[in-house]
């Protein structure tokens, strides 16, 4: 296969792997657009936020804070805390992307979302030596990005006629997307321990402002998973974590 067709194949593979996540993001994007204009943001500001910030949960919270009359500084600080988990994603992907120039790294970093991270890290962990896995990332990222813009616009244009968009319950779409991604991996004991400890810690830290507890809970869960894996390796009672390909359903 020529380099050109291999790149194209990786790109479309990334698009296909991201399809279920795009389905889960559609309601979320529409509610964001509707919520933003109902909170008093202009249609242009809502669209610009999706185009230039491109981070769903922080946009959601920002719209809520604007509606509550919060100042710019508070909103930007909240954005920082809510998006801090992306630094963990970025660190996780970095070892795989050492060979790429900044003209690839900077745009892919901008397009890094929960959804693309999850499918891209799975792709990088597959054992084949394809040199074009960043094209998979590009396909996933552009699909998520395009969909997010379209859904924001739909929400902006329908939002003014539909009051209280936050009350529709469509925010469950994001939750069920994450449930679908996490559950198959729980067959591995260290992964299950990591998720259990992170979930419990998140409940305990839920009182902290601005979702600061999310970062603390994540780090605690990562530590619990790593310690469990080390303990199991020392005692050799169970096989180690199964191959990562098993943790997500095939695309």
């Amino acid at each position: 296969m020529s380099a050109e067709s291999s790149r194209r194949a990786e790109f479309w593979r990334g698009v296909r792997a991201t399809f279920p996540l795009v389905v889960g993001a559609i309601p979320f994007g529409i509610i964001f657009g509707a919520l933003a204009v109902n909170s008093g943001l202009s249609a242009a500001a809502a669209a610009a936020m999706s185009a230039f910030v491109f981070a769903g949960s922080s946009q959601f919270i920002a719209a809520g804070l604007v509606g509550g009359g919060a100042g710019v500084l508070l909103i930007v600080m909240t954005t920082f805390v809510v998006n801090l988990r992306h630094a963990l994603y970025s660190v996780t992907l970095a070892p795989y992307m050492k060979h790429l120039p900044q003209r690839w790294l900077a745009p892919l970093a901008f397009w890094l979302t929960d959804e693309s991270f999850l499918v891209v890290v799975e792709r990088y962990r597959q054992p084949d030596a394809s040199p074009y896995k960043h094209w998979f990332f590009l396909g996933s990222a552009l699909f998520m990005y395009t969909n997010w813009q379209l859904c924001t616009w739909i929400g902006v244009f329908t939002g003014r006629t539909l009051p209280n968009p936050g009350g529709w319950g469509l925010d469950f779409a994001l939750i069920v997307t994450f449930i679908g991604m996490i559950t198959p991996g729980l067959r591995s004991r260290p992964v299950a321990m990591s998720a259990l400890v992170a979930g419990a810690t998140a409940l305990l830290l839920a009182g902290l402002p601005n979702r600061l507890g999310l970062i603390g809970a994540t780090l605690t869960g990562v530590l619990a998973g790593a310690l469990t894996e080390r303990w199991m390796a020392a005692h050799r009672t169970e096989p180690l974590t199964p191959p990562t390909a098993e943790r997500l359903p095939p695309p």
Binding site: V53, A94, T183, A195, A202, A206
Partner: protein, 106 residues
């Protein structure tokens, strides 16, 4: 757009990009210690659980373990389906429909 909104969106964009880009730009130039690399694979399950568990158990800010909590019931049903089928798309579609129906019926 008024000036206030331009400042808001530009600041949010800058802060978010400055979280996402530097680790990718800098860490890819240095070698991480092996125990750190080994631990990184737990970030996806840990961060997802830290988002999902409070969203299911405390949808309105306080602990709500009751069949009337559609987030909890639909979340558990979706988790069961994901465990059995490993089919992400089916899980998402089933979960959304189940959630909307449960909320209406209860």
């Amino acid at each position: 757009m008024i000036w206030n909104e331009i400042i808001l969106v530009a600041s949010m964009a800058a802060v978010t990009f400055l979280i996402r880009w530097p680790p990718l730009a800098l860490v890819s130039r240095i070698a991480l210690p092996q125990p750190v690399v080994d631990a990184l694979k737990f970030i996806p399950p840990a961060v997802l659980a830290a988002i999902v568990v409070p969203a299911m158990l405390t949808p309105n800010g306080t602990l709500d373990v009751h069949p009337g909590n559609a987030y909890l019931v639909a979340g558990a049903a979706s988790g069961l389906l994901a465990w059995r089928t490993r089919n992400l798309l089916a899980t998402i579609l089933f979960g959304m429909i189940f959630f909307l129906i449960w909320r209406r019926l209860w």
